[in-house]
């Protein structure tokens, strides 16, 4: 007990608080800029942590991490382009809210949900890290494969209005995700002699292109709505009401759990967590048909999930030395520079470093909440800018963002390609989200399929998969997920009939 108090006090040293705050502010800015991801922010700031004490350095990096994941929602809501890949799911309802003039409400929901998800995962990191890490290790090739397929079933619920077009867009995304080295022989597929395509289509340029270019084009092509849409009311309450929080608590909890767990899986990531969180919120909602039209539930579900990834990713990195994503991989480097090695030792021999950091992570989330609540409403003014000014600036920002990922002009052309494809498909009545899911999940799908086939050479694959309990659960979830729209449709019809009968 006395130990806990020392750790809390150690976490609250002014250096730590300052580092955490600076990290959060920089992170939010980084996250809000399309193309600048949490990983880039952490990489830029990492050399500065060499001179700081380990706890202070970690707080700085954690601040950037949490802040950037939240910050991605700001541009997702205001300009319909996710600032980081994690915020791709936030666009669905967040941007629709902004179009209805509810940008401020959407931003408030994003920060509240981000805070809840982040804090939940930080607390889990402090208390249940080892068992969760052990569970994450149970995920092998068949489980990842099934998880990717489960992720793809989201298409069925998102594109319910035109299922065929949704699936076509999804397959198109998978095909674009197959560009680059194959996972078995490293043969470069469809690279047209362009070196940067060898490692595959960059996720960040692809997402920027898919979201921003069609958005900008429809913005300028729509003289009727160009002012109306963007001059909506941007004032609103600063804090959420208690009633709101209580009403959304199942969403927060569900998304936080999903985010925590997906975060703990190496190689999955925030974007998948957010889509799964969004989809489950829709599935369990009483009014699933309203999702996608601009409701707060959609923003809450996506943002709680992607920020809960932070704690999850730190769990596997700190306890096992397995970074869950590129951000924690860089943070692991920062630990090593200070002579700290991840693993049990970190929690015993280096307890004086790591426990104040765990407390600090909770504080960092609190700082993020304050920054978001007080600063985000100003960002909402973006929606007041005339389109003729806003559209060119968005383009310039996106070009910079796509370029800055790898300092490579080829990535800007990749972004434009995806932009044109996205716009043409939009004109043809296709929606963008399935392409995004395909591009994100495709590589996971193929590489784990390849691994599964390699590992089970000569065995019966079906028996192998069915002998693994987690795989069976995932299989059942996939079946349920595909059957659910039918069940839901029936129950809705039944309810309508009942209502009419009344």
């Amino acid at each position: 007990m006395a130990g806990a108090l020392t750790w809390i006090l150690a976490a609250m040293s002014w250096q730590n608080l300052l580092a955490g705050f600076l990290g959060v502010v920089l992170g939010v800015i980084f996250g809000a800029l399309p193309g600048f991801t949490a990983a880039m922010g952490v990489a830029v700031l990492m050399p500065f942590t060499f001179g700081l004490s380990p706890t202070t350095g970690l707080m700085l990096l954690a601040g950037i991490f949490c802040g950037a994941i939240y910050g991605g929602s700001i541009s997702a809501i205001l300009i319909g382009t996710p600032g980081t890949p994690s915020a791709a799911a936030t666009v669905i309802d967040g941007f629709e809210m902004a179009r209805k003039g509810q940008a401020a409400d959407a931003l408030r929901e994003a920060i509240v949900a981000s805070y809840i998800g982040g804090t939940f995962s930080a607390i889990c990191l402090a208390f249940i890290a080892p068992p969760l890490a052990r569970f994450a290790l149970k995920f092998g090739p068949p489980e990842y494969l099934l998880l990717a397929i489960f992720g793809l079933t989201i298409i069925a619920s998102i594109a319910a209005k035109s299922l065929l077009k949704g699936i076509i867009a999804g397959v198109l995304g998978l095909i674009l995700g197959a560009v680059g080295m194959d996972p078995l022989l490293a043969y470069p597929r469809w690279t047209f002699g362009i070196p940067s395509l060898v490692s595959g289509v960059g996720l960040v340029p692809a997402l920027i292109g898919l979201f921003s270019i069609p958005q900008v084009l429809s913005m300028v092509g729509d003289p009727e709505t160009r002012i109306k849409e963007y001059s909506g009311k941007v004032s609103g309450r600063r804090w959420p009401t208690f009633k709101e929080l209580k009403e959304f608590s199942p969403i927060y909890l569900r998304s936080s759990l999903i985010g925590l767990f997906i975060g703990a899986l190496p190689g999955a990531g925030g974007s998948i967590a957010a889509f799964l969180g969004y989809n489950e919120a829709k599935r369990f909602s009483k009014h699933p048909e309203k999702f996608g039209t601009g409701i707060r539930e959609g923003v809450a579900a996506a943002e709680a999930a992607n920020n809960a990834v932070t704690g999850g990713a730190l769990i596997t990195m700190l306890t096992l030395g397995v970074p869950g994503d590129s951000v924690t991989a860089i943070m692991m480097g920062a630990l090593l520079v200070h002579g700290l090695r991840p693993g049990n030792e970190l929690f015993t021999a280096s307890a004086h470093v790591i426990y104040p950091f765990l407390v600090g992570l909770i504080i960092v989330n609190l700082m993020m909440l304050l920054v978001g609540i007080y600063a985000a409403p100003y960002a909402a003014r973006v929606t007041k800018t005339p389109v003729s000014m806003l559209a060119p600036i968005i383009v310039a920002l996106c070009v910079m963002g796509a370029y800055a990922v790898n300092n490579d002009i080829m990535d800007v052309w990749v972004m434009l390609f995806f932009g044109v494809v996205g716009y043409l498909l939009k004109c043809g009545g296709y929606i963008t989200i399935p392409i995004v899911l395909g591009v994100i999940l495709g590589p996971i799908l193929e590489s784990n399929l390849t691994r599964l086939l390699t590992i089970t050479q000569g065995q019966n694959i079906l028996m192998y998969v069915l002998s693994r309990p987690i795989s069976v659960v995932l299989l059942l979830m996939i079946i349920a997920s595909l059957a659910w729209p039918v069940i839901q449709l029936r129950s809705v019809t039944a309810r309508r009939i009942a209502e009419v009968a009344d």
Binding site: A39, P183, P195, V198, G321, S326, A329, N406, N407
Partner: protein
């Protein structure tokens, strides 16, 4: 007699001092006229924050004190290192653009057509050489020694799964090379990086993994893994019980090498000057301590030796890659 020895010792020491001074003086003499006059760009062909990036950023901090101009690190990741290498070989060969040259750049050439070749590169020096090794879980009773391991692979072809950090990486080549040289049949399983393969290994989805000494030292805890064999010339002090493959009659030495190179055509005196400057930086005790914490074993080789190493690596990897096709 005793005095004689002392005198001899003194003479030897004096000669050594003179020699080393003359070497230093020589290096100072070699400084090219009018170079460097402006900041030098250092292209890192991998993402910021990764092992290559961090290692060279630290080295550049020490080297710029010696060279006297800032060294600006620029990340040009993508294509497994090809994007940055193409950028490097296409830069002006004036000594103001240099970059890293890793084993990965050699494996690319062995594996597929690329937009650069070994001849486009002017090697400066080797900086890090991290020997590769095989590890199994500490509690895996099937393999006590590397012989058990290889024998198991022979008896169960394709069943002994060994994780790598990706298809076409040095780890992949390591498995293929061992299969060829030791006449065994290990099954490579490719993961998206060292972290993912480590997770699969700890989760018992695969039997073994290939990693480097540095990766094991920094990311594994005692009792998680056992080193079966090292692919180095000599045993590694940190793992005194792990034999080298050479000891077992398999003449295979493999390491993840990270060096520095310039575009072809960079003046010889600039190359030699930079090599000497980086050599001096690498002798800084603070640099040595930082690299040790990061698990990056330092190894210096001069321009010509580094060129030979790359050529030799290329021949070995090409021979293995042919079998893959």
């Amino acid at each position: 007699m005793r005095r004689g020895r002392i005198i001899t010792l003194c003479v030897v020491i004096a000669i050594m001092i003179m020699l080393s001074m003359s070497v230093l003086g020589h290096a100072a003499l070699q400084k090219p006229a009018n170079y460097p006059k402006k900041p030098i760009h250092f292209i890192v062909t991998f993402s910021a924050g990764g092992g290559t990036d961090v290692g060279f950023r630290i080295l550049c901090q020490y080297a710029e004190k010696i060279i006297g101009v800032p060294i600006v690190v620029v990340n040009k990741p993508g294509g497994g290192g090809e994007v940055g290498m193409v950028e490097l070989v296409r830069s002006k060969p004036d000594g103001y653009t240099i970059g890293n040259f890793n084993s990965a750049h050699t494996t690319i050439l062995a594996l597929r057509e690329a937009k650069y070749s070994l001849d486009d590169v002017e090697p400066i020096c080797l900086a890090v050489s991290d020997p590769r090794l095989f590890i199994v879980r500490a509690d895996d009773d099937r393999f006590k020694t590397i012989e058990d391991f290889l024998e198991y692979g022979r008896k169960h072809p394709g069943k002994l799964t060994v994780g790598t950090s990706g298809a076409g990486t040095t780890g992949h080549f390591q498995i293929l090379a061992v299969n060829k040289f030791a006449n065994t049949s290990l099954q490579p399983v490719h993961y998206g990086g060292a972290g993912e393969s480590k997770a699969a290994f700890l989760g018992k989805h695969i039997d073994a993994i290939t990693q480097t000494v540095g990766e094991i030292l920094t990311t594994f805890e005692k009792g998680q893994a056992r080193v079966l064999a090292v692919l180095a010339d000599e045993r590694i002090p940190e793992f005194p019980d792990a034999p080298t493959l050479k000891e077992k009659g398999i003449d295979l030495v493999m390491a993840s090498n990270r060096g520095i190179a310039a575009p072809k055509g960079t003046p010889k005196e600039i190359i030699n000057y930079l090599a000497e400057a980086f050599k001096e930086a690498m002798q800084d005790p603070k640099y040595i301590a930082e690299m040790q914490k990061l698990g990056l074993p330092i190894k210096y080789l001069g321009p010509e030796e580094f060129r030979k190493l790359n050529q030799k690596e290329y021949e070995v990897y090409s021979a293995i890659a042919k079998e893959l096709k």
